[in-house]
Symmetry: C2
Subunit: 692 residues, 2 copies
C-alpha cells in the first residue's frame, strides 16, 4: 500500500518496448508547477480559476501519507492503513478497534488521537536564488552544502516567525530548484469512523499491491481547534456519480520519493547495496513478528500494525529490486543516460559545466558503499529497533542541538521543526515492553552479526546475549512515561548526561559514532549528489525546460490520469470492482482470512446494492506517500481515495509507464453505500453529501 516505505519494481522486457504515449499522464507535479500544457493537449482540460487552489487547500500532509478535508466541519478522509497507527493506539485488550471498527455517532464520541499532526499547504515560494547565493566559488561539495543548509535554516526560521506557519524548504530536481513550503499545522485530531481491519485490508498481504481489489480502505478523522471542529472553508465536495471508464481524474497527495532522475550509478547502489540490506532486514523482522503474533491474541494485536508495515515494505522494495535486477530495464536507463550525456557533449559550454557530474555521483556511491551498513545500524537506528531508542536519541540530540545556533543544527532540530518533533515525542501512544524487547533483541543480534568489531557493539554485547541486554535496556528506561519525556525535553545536555535511564545511556553511547557517520554521509555522499544532481538538473532545464517533472520529495503534488482497465497476460482487467465481487471472493475462499468478511457485512449483505462500485483504477501517477490522496473529477469532486498501486505500477518509481501500471482507489460511491447500509452511519453520510 502507498504509505511511505519506499517504492518497488517488477519489469518485464515486454513492456519496456511498448510505445510511450505522446502526452503521457506522467508526473507528480508541484502545485506551483501544474502540468497545464499536458492537461490541455492530452485531455483538453483547463482548470477554472480557483480549482487548483481549492484542491491544494483541501489537501492534507501527514507522516508519510495523504488526506483531505471533505466537509465544512473539519471532516477528513484518508485510508484505514494510514490511520491504523492511531486506531491501534486507541485499542486495548478489551476494545480492539482494529478488530471491531469504530463509528462515533456523536461528536462527543470522537476519539482524540495522540501524536498525530496534519499539515495544510498555504503557499510555495521559490527561494532558489537566495540559497544558491549562499554558496561561494571554490567551495567543495561539503562546504557548499553546509552554506546552503545555513541559508535554508535561516529562510525557514524567518518565514516561520513571520507567518506563524511551519516552513520547510524542499529541494526539487536534486537541488536544481529550492521551494519554500508553508504549512498550517493541526494537532487535535479525532477518530470519527474506521471499518474493521478485515474489510479495510480484505485480501491481506496476499492481495497487497494487486488488482482487482475489494478493500474498504478508508478512515475518517476530524480536525479540532480550540476543542471545536475546525470550520473548513476549503474542502472537497462529494461527487454524486461514480467514475466511468475514460474519465479524467486527479490525485492530490504527498508522494514520498521517486528515482526517475537518478543516475545509473545511484540505481546500481540501490540494487547492490541498499535494497538487499533493507530486504534482508525486513525479512528477518517479518519472521520475528509473525512468530511473536503466534503467541496469542494480545501479541497479535500489538504486533499487527508493525507487521503490516514490514510486509508492505518488503513487498514494495522486493518489487523495486526485481526491476533493478532486470537487465533490460537497466539497459534502457543506461541508453537514456548515454543519450542525455551525448547531447550535452555536443555543446562545449555545457560539456565543460556538466560532463563530470555522473562520474562524481558514481564516486560518491562507491564511497557510500564502504560505510552504508554502520550508517544504517548507528545513524538510522537499524541496530536499535525500539520506540524507546528513537525517543531517547531525539531527546539526547535535541538537548545538544538546542545549544547551537539554529542554522548549525542537524536539520530535524531546527526551530522550524521543533514543534512537530516535540508533538511526536510527547505522544502518549502505548508502548508494549515485551514487544519492544523482542524487536530490540533481534536488531541487536543483527547488529552484532554485522558490526562485531565495533567498539560500541563490544561495549554492549561483549559477553551477554542480545536478549539479556535488550531486557535490561527496556527494563531500565522510564521513557514510557510522557511526563519523564517532558522533563528531558526541557533538559540541558549536562542534565541528560547525568541520566541513569538505560535508553538515554544507549543513545549517548552510540551518538558519537552515529553523528560521525552522518557527517560522513553528508560530506561524501549527499553533498556530492546535491551538487551534481543540480548540475544534471540545469542541463535538463537547458535542454527541456521544466517539462520533465521533478522526482517526489514527500511534498504536496498533483497528478492526473484516466480511469481505465488494462490487459494483463492477455486477460482484460476491468477498471472497477463492486460489492458483488467482494462477496464472491469471500465465498470462494470459504470466508477465511485474509478473505473473511466482518460479521456486519455478512449480516447486512441484503441491504447493500451489490452493483455499487467498490474499487477502481486509473493511470494517475502515484508512489508511496500518496496513500489517502483524494481523487477528484474535472469538477473537483471526490470520486475516490487512492490506497494502492498494482504490482506493475511499482517500477514507475524509476520509469513511468501507463500501459499496465495503475493506481488503485476506493470508490466514493462504495464508501457512501457501506456507510449507509452496513455501518448505519447516516449522520456521517449527510455531512459528506451536504451541499456547501
Amino acid at each position: 500500500m502507498r504509505i511511505i516505505k519506499r517504492p518497488v519494481l517488477i519489469a518485464t522486457a515486454l513492456w519496456l518496448i511498448l510505445v510511450v504515449p505522446i502526452f503521457p499522464d506522467e508526473g507528480l507535479w508541484p502545485f506551483n508547477m501544474p502540468p497545464t500544457d499536458l492537461l490541455k493537449a492530452g485531455h483538453r482540460f483547463t482548470p477554472e480559476s480557483g480549482w487548483l487552489s481549492r484542491l491544494q487547500a483541501s489537501s492534507i500532509r501527514l507522516g508519510g501519507a495523504s488526506a483531505s478535508f471533505v466537509s465544512g466541519d473539519g471532516l477528513v478522509l484518508t485510508n484505514h492503513h494510514v490511520g491504523a497507527g492511531a486506531i491501534q493506539n486507541l485499542s486495548t485488550k478489551e476494545r480492539d478497534l482494529m478488530q471491531t471498527g469504530f463509528y462515533a455517532r456523536t461528536r462527543a464520541e470522537e476519539l482524540k488521537c495522540p501524536g498525530i499532526e496534519f499539515q495544510v499547504l498555504q503557499e510555495i515560494e521559490d527561494v532558489t536564488g537566495q540559497i544558491r547565493a549562499a554558496e561561494e566559488t571554490g567551495q567543495n561539495p561539503a562546504e557548499a552544502a553546509a552554506a546552503r543548509e545555513k541559508s535554508i535554516a535561516s529562510i525557514e526560521k524567518n518565514a516561520s516567525e513571520q507567518s506563524g506557519l511551519r516552513c520547510q524548504v524542499a529541494s526539487l530536481y536534486s537541488g536544481g530548484l529550492y521551494h519554500l513550503y508553508k504549512y498550517k499545522v493541526f494537532t487535535d485530531i479525532r477518530l470519527v469512523f474506521a471499518p474493521e481491519y478485515a474489510m479495510a485490508f480484505f485480501g491481506g498481504d496476499q492481495d497487497n499491491f494487486t488488482y482487482p481489489r475489494y478493500d474498504l480502505d478508508v478512515t475518517f478523522f476530524r480536525v479540532y481547534e480550540n476543542d471545536q471542529p475546525l470550520p473548513t472553508t476549503h474542502f472537497l465536495p462529494w461527487a454524486a456519480q461514480p467514475v466511468k471508464e475514460g474519465d479524467l481524474v486527479f490525485a492530490s497527495g504527498n508522494p514520498g520519493s521517486t528515482g526517475r532522475l537518478l543516475t545509473l550509478s545511484q540505481l546500481e547502489f540501490l540494487r547492490d547495496v541498499s535494497y538487499p540490506f533493507m530486504i534482508g532486514t525486513n525479512a528477518r523482522r517479518r519472521a520475528l513478528l509473525a512468530e511473536y503474533s503466534e503467541k496469542g491474541p494480545d501479541e497479535a494485536r500489538v504486533a499487527l500494525r508493525t507487521l503490516f508495515g514490514i510486509e508492505n515494505s518488503l513487498k514494495a522494495i522486493g518489487g523495486y529490486q526485481s526491476g533493478l535486477l532486470d537487465p533490460e530495464l537497466m539497459a534502457q536507463k543506461a541508453r537514456e543516460e548515454r543519450a542525455f550525456r551525448e547531447e550535452i557533449a555536443k555543446d562545449p559550454e555545457m560539456a565543460g559545466e556538466f560532463s563530470r557530474a555522473w562520474e562524481e555521483i558514481a564516486e560518491a556511491q562507491k564511497s557510500y558503499a564502504t560505510f552504508f551498513k554502520p550508517y544504517a545500524y548507528f545513524e538510522r537506528g537499524t541496530g536499535f529497533n525500539t520506540h524507546y531508542f528513537r525517543i531517547a536519541r531525539s531527546l539526547v540530540r535535541l538537548a545538544a542541538e538546542k545549544t547551537k545556533p539554529n542554522d548549525e543544527r542537524l536539520r530535524e532540530y531546527r526551530e522550524s521543526n521543533l514543534a512537530s518533533l516535540e508533538h511526536s515525542l510527547l505522544s502518549p501512544a502505548p508502548i508494549y515492553d515485551e514487544f519492544e524487547i523482542v524487536k530490540l533483541a533481534d536488531s541487536l543480534t543483527q547488529l552484532r552479526e554485522d558490526m562485531e568489531t565495533s567498539w560500541e557493539v563490544k561495549c554492549l554485547l561483549a559477553t551477554r546475549s542480545p536478549r539479556e541486554v535488550a531486557a535490561e535496556l527496556v527494563g531500565g528506561t522510564k521513557l514510557k512515561d510522557v511526563e519523564v519525556r517532558k522533563k528531558y525535553l526541557q533538559a540541558k545536555p549536562e542534565e541528560i548526561y547525568l541520566s541513569t535511564d538505560s535508553m538515554i545511556k544507549l543513545a549517548l553511547l552510540v551518538d558519537p559514532v552515529a553523528r560521525g557517520l552522518r557527517a560522513r554521509h553528508e560530506n561524501e555522499v549527499a553533498s556530492v549528489e546535491a551538487r551534481n544532481g543540480a548540475r544534471i538538473a540545469r542541463a535538463l532545464f537547458k535542454l527541456k525546460g521544466t517539462s520533465v517533472p521533478p522526482d517526489a520529495t514527500g511534498t504536496p503534488r498533483l497528478s492526473f490520469g484516466v480511469v481505465k482497465g488494462y490487459v494483463e497476460n492477455g486477460k482484460k482487467i476491468p477498471f472497477r470492482t463492486t460489492f458483488k465481487g467482494l462477496y464472491e471472493i469471500a465465498e470462494k475462499n470459504g470466508n477465511q482470512p485474509p478473505y473473511e468478511l466482518a460479521p456486519r457485512f455478512l449480516r447486512k449483505k441484503s441491504a447493500l446494492k451489490l452493483s455499487v462500485p467498490l474499487n477502481f483504477v486509473a493511470t494517475v501517477d502515484s508512489i508511496g506517500g500518496n496513500s489517502g490522496s483524494p481523487v477528484v473529477n474535472r469538477k473537483g469532486e471526490v470520486v475516490g481515495v487512492l490506497f494502492d498501486g498494482n504490482i506493475q505500477s511499482l517500477p514507475n518509481n524509476f520509469v513511468y509507464r501507463e500501459d499496465i501500471p495503475r493506481s488503485v482507489m476506493v470508490d466514493a460511491q462504495g464508501i457512501i453505500e457501506a456507510l449507509l447500509k452496513v455501518y448505519e452511519a447516516g449522520p456521517l453520510v449527510d455531512e459528506l453529501l451536504a451541499k456547501k
Copy 2:
C-alpha cells in the same frame, strides 16, 4: 616538597595557643598588592623603586611550580624536583640522567625539553568591576557564575589578542576580587645542569618535609627564542654572601592553593570526604608503583618520577589531614568563624547581606559529598590513570569545544589557553605502554570497586578483568605518535567520532557523564562557593580592608620572612646546614640509600669547603607550588632557592604560624660551591656570578 600536590597539616594543641606576633610574616601577596605596611612596620624595609618589578619580571611560572632568570642569557634556576619530569623524559635505558646528573659544558650540549612552558608575568589589571557588572540581580548562583565566566572569557580573549600575551583572570578571595594576569610565554626550554637524583633528593621520601636537610635540589634550564638564548633584561643577580640568622628574605613564586579563608564546612569536607579519598587513592598507587619498581632497573627508572609525586602528595595530604583531624585546630577555626560572624551580626546591614553565606556554603558541601566520587573518577579521571586517557580526553573535548563560541567553552579550551594546551598535547615526552597498563588497570579496578553500578563501568568492565581491558585500551591506541595527536588536534568532532582509537573511544564513552558531573559541580558547588565566598570577602574587606592576604591561587605571589632556626620538642634546630653535615649523615647511614652520596661527591669531598652552607630555613610563607621560588635578600640578590617546608609548616595551609613552621631553601653559596668543586661547572658559575 613544594610542588603542587596540595598542602598538609600536622597540628598540636601546643602551638595553637602560642601568641600570634603583632606583625606576622604571613601572606602570599599578589605583586599588585605588596605588603608595604607590614614590611615597613615589621622589618623597616621599603623597597627601592624598581625592586618589586624586577623581581616580578625575573620570576617564572611553570606547571605547578616556580623558577627565575639568573643571567642575562636566559639562564633559569629552579629545583631538581621541579625539572625532574623533563630530566626523566630525556633519559633512556642507556643514559639515565636522573641517575647520572647532567651538565652541558657548551650551549650546543644543552638538551631541548619537550612539552614545557615558562610564563613570565608582565602585568596585572583589576577587572573586578567589569566582571561583577556581568551579573544580573536575581540570578541564582549558577546563572551568575555562567555570566561571570562569559565575561572572563571575553576579557581574556580580548586582552590576549591585544597584547599577544597569555591572559588569565585569577579570582582572589573566592571571587572577592578578579585580576587579569598577562604572561609572556616561552616554550623552547633546554636543560643546562642537573645533579644526581641522589643528591637532589638526599634523604629521600624519609626526609621529605623534614629539617635539617642536605639537598642539592637545583636544576638550571635555559630559555631560547628563535634558537638563540633569550637575552634577559630582567634577571636576579647572585648574592656574594650567604644569609645570616635574622636576615629578611623574600620568595617569589606561584603557590598553588591555601585554605586559610575557607569556612568550617569546607574544611570539614576536606577532612571527611576529599582527603580520605585522595589518601586512599595515593596509598594504593604507591603500593602498586613500588611493586612495579621492584621488577627491575628499567621499571624503576620509568616509575621513579611518578612514584616521587605520589609519595610527596601522600605525605603532604596526610599531614593536612592529621591537622584537620585535630579537634583543637578545628575548634580554633570554629571560634574564629563564630567571632567573625558575630561581628557581622552586630551591623544590621551587613547581617542582611552576609549572614547566610556560611550556611549556603555548608549546603553546597553536603551536595558535593553526594557525587564527589563519580566526579573524581569520571571528570578528574581518577578512574583512568594513564597519560593516554588525558591526551584522548583533551583531544575529544578540544574538538567539541572549538565549535562553540569562546565564552561558552569549558575554561581550559578557551582561546587564551589553547596555545598552552596544544603545546602540552604535542609533547614528545616518552610514554611506556607497560607502565601505562599497570596504572590504568589498577585505576579501573578502583573504579569498579566504587562505581560498579554505573553504566559506563558496566560497559567497560562487565565481565572482563581490568588488566585485560587496560591492555586492550593501551594496545589499541596510536596516541603515542605525536603526528597522530597533531591530526586529531585539527579534527572536527565528526572526524573524532569516527576514530577507532581505543583511548578516543574511552574518552567518548565517559565524556557525557564526566561533563554532567562537571556541570553539576559548577552549578551546585563552585558557583555557590564563589557567590558566598565573595560575600564573606566583602565582609572581610569592610572590617579589615585588604590587610588579610588572599589565599593562594597558583598565580605569582611575593612572600617574606626572616632567616631563623627554631625549637622542636625542646631541641634547637639551627637555621642552616652545611656540606659537613651532608657527609656526616651519609657516613652515619653507611652511605646507603636514601643517604647514599653520588660517587662524584665521594671523590670530590676534599675539594669542597665543608663549612659552606647547603640548606637554610626562614619564616617565609609558602605552600605547594612555591618549589623553585628564588629567595632574595633586601638587595634583590639570590640567596637561595626554596624547595620544601618542614613538616610543621604544612598546617600553614589553613592557619599561618611562624613559631616552628619554616620554608626550606638550598643556599646560593652551596650551589656555587658544588658547581665549582664537584661538578667542575666553571662556565655556569661564571655566568651566575657575572655582574650585569
